[in-house]
């Protein structure tokens, strides 16, 4: 009889746990939606700020990108992963509202793509990081076309890596992020972006 009681008790507890687990899941989803709403409100607020600030998100993304690029030049996997992580969070907070509807569409597309590549860089081995860096660089080059840039950027090109790959740099001097010290000065300046 005692055994039966224990069994019933355990069973009841279990069902309760399972049911409450489900509830927690639902709640999390709700909270997520809620924070999204907050985010929308805050971007509405940002819109009203000075147009000078239009560059601030781009600047932040670019500065993360440059740290990442330098880590790849130095063949430093951990630094690159860290920079990738930073870039993910900066990109997620990128305010597209200050741009026209058409530009927003394009920017959102670029940003979603870039986030995916930055996420991969944050958790991959060096060779994988470089693969994703190639596409991420393309995304950044396209981003700059829309947002413009305050600082002069150099679009550089390595003809050897994966049938030819581009990247962005603040310096004119070539330091190749795809090969690092193995072929540090391989490449050329393709374009100067002002």
């Amino acid at each position: 009889m005692k055994k039966l009681k224990i069994t019933v008790l355990i069973f009841t507890l279990l069902s309760l746990t399972i049911v409450s687990c489900k509830d927690i899941k639902k709640q999390e989803v709700k909270e997520e939606n809620h924070s999204k709403m907050n985010y929308d409100n805050s971007s509405e607020f940002n819109k009203k700020m000075d147009s000078e600030d239009k560059y601030s998100d781009t600047k932040q993304v670019m500065s993360n990108y440059m740290v990442l690029k330098d880590a790849l030049v130095a063949t430093d996997k951990n630094e690159a992963a860290k920079a990738g992580n930073k870039m993910v969070s900066t990109l997620k907070g990128f305010d597209v509202e200050v741009y026209s509807a058409e530009e927003q569409e394009e920017l959102k597309d670029i940003i979603i793509d870039a986030i995916e590549h930055a996420e991969h860089i944050a958790k991959s081995e060096m060779d994988h990081q470089r693969e994703h860096f190639k596409t991420l660089s393309k995304d950044m080059i396209d981003l700059i076309v829309i947002t413009g840039t305050e600082n002069t950027l150099y679009q550089q090109f390595c003809p050897m890596y994966d049938k030819g790959s581009a990247w962005l740099s603040m310096d004119k001097e070539i330091k190749n992020p795809y090969y690092g010290s193995k072929m540090l000065t391989c490449g050329k300046v393709q374009n100067e972006i002002n």
């Binding site: 355990i10 069973f11 279990l14 399972i18 597309d109 670029i110 793509d113 590549h117 995304d139």
Partner: protein, 152 residues
């Protein structure tokens, strides 16, 4: 001895208990217009290979094995499918922009080249999902072709 019995009993109760938790199945009868196979004119052989090797976790329609009726196996599979679809969903392929498609094409090629996909835990049971050398080469060639046609 008594504690062993109780533990065994508890485990049994847990096992029986979780069988009653409702499952969410990833299944849909209709093939949406956005499906990879309808967006691209995919050759039959490649279509069959992709469906056999990828679609269980990378589409809105999973062909479940019998053991999906048993928990906690079903949870394990549900998680796999969820993650798989988040990374790539062939059913919603048509909704992606060219930029996103290009990125996905690149990932598909890299995953196949690196033998990262299909997962070995999947091919252990689904032996028809394994890519032979020739099949792999053909699929990679086809995907590369699609990728290159995007950038033009």
């Amino acid at each position: 001895m008594k504690t062993v019995k109780i533990i065994a009993l508890v485990l049994l109760v847990v096992f029986v208990g979780i069988q009653f938790v409702p499952k969410e199945l990833n299944q849909s009868k209709a093939v949406p217009k956005t499906d990879f196979m309808l967006v691209h004119n995919v050759p039959k052989a490649i279509q069959h290979k992709l469906e056999a090797s990828c679609y269980d976790c990378h589409s809105n329609n999973t062909a479940y094995p019998w053991y999906n009726k048993i928990q906690p196996v079903a949870w394990f599979l549900e998680d796999h499918v969820k993650n798989g679809k988040a990374a790539l969903n062939f059913s919603e392929w048509g909704t992606l922009s060219n930029r996103r498609k290009a990125s996905k094409f690149r990932s598909i090629i890299k995953q196949l080249e690196g033998n990262k996909m299909p997962l070995s835990s999947y091919t252990v049971i689904h032996s028809n999902a394994i890519f032979s050398r020739v099949e792999k080469q053909r699929v990679i060639q086809y995907i590369t072709q699609l990728k290159d046609s995007l950038s033009n």
